[in-house]
Symmetry: C2
Subunit: 132 residues, 2 copies
Amino acid sequence: MEQTFSISDLAREFDITPRTIRHYEAEGLIAPAREGQRRIYSGRDRVRLALVLRGKRLGFSLAEAKEIIDLYAAPQGEAFQLRTMLEKLDEKREMLEDKRRDLDAAISNMDKYAARCRDRLAELESRREAAE
Amino acid sequence: MEQTFSISDLAREFDITPRTIRHYEAEGLIAPAREGQRRIYSGRDRVRLALVLRGKRLGFSLAEAKEIIDLYAAPQGEAFQLRTMLEKLDEKREMLEDKRRDLDAAISNMDKYAARCRDRLAELESRREAAE
DNA sequence: CCCCGAGTTTACGTTAACGTAAACGTAAGT
DNA sequence: ACTTACGTTTACGTTAACGTAAACTCGGGG
């Protein structure tokens, strides 16, 4: 049998509240099994939750995250479905690459600025030495 | 004289509404000059706006974006200020690198999945050929 | 002089993503 | 049997990030 998790297990692990997890379920992002009323989360549910949270960190809305994640859970039975899925994947991939360009620009931007700060600091230090 | 921009100039260029730009000003992200009542945006203002929007695309809140952008506009006069700025820069840089890790994981994840889809599709195609 | 387009302020409305509280169920420990 | 911990639903509250509308100003054209 595969391992299962309670809602507070996952809440602890990902440092969010149970309310947040229930909210994601209400939005159709996760669909855990039930044991009576209690939600029982499988390993796959856990992975989906992790994907949602990563999506959020990258600036996607829950709706956008759902679009992406649902691709990974699609049926992929026939060739036609596989083709349209590959198209959608490509589209999403471009979005991600756009973000990577933004991110790389932001980082190199910051690096350049930091380098200038260090230069400036070194100059100040050398002047101070010269004054001794 | 350097080039200046009206609020609708920038709104057009960045595909946002004037309201959005005014909102950023109200939140302290931009502080354009005034000519009477009219806002006059300098090239530097334009750059700040671009930074805000990039921050948003990367999933930062306006407050977070402000923190980062304000670093680039800080005085940096004395050595002490330079040192604390370099510390803050390093901290922000780590946030960006965290995001890059997430992003790279998301992309390679998607690539692997797409590859599996292509394999599966190729298999279906070869079977179809064999059936002819 | 009047109007038009562009800009302004003020203020209330809206949406997403939860927070918070109430009222209740259930299983385990003492 | 009572408490405690954890879970549930329902529903209203909150915050960020704007949207939307009203009422005003202001410089230029006809």
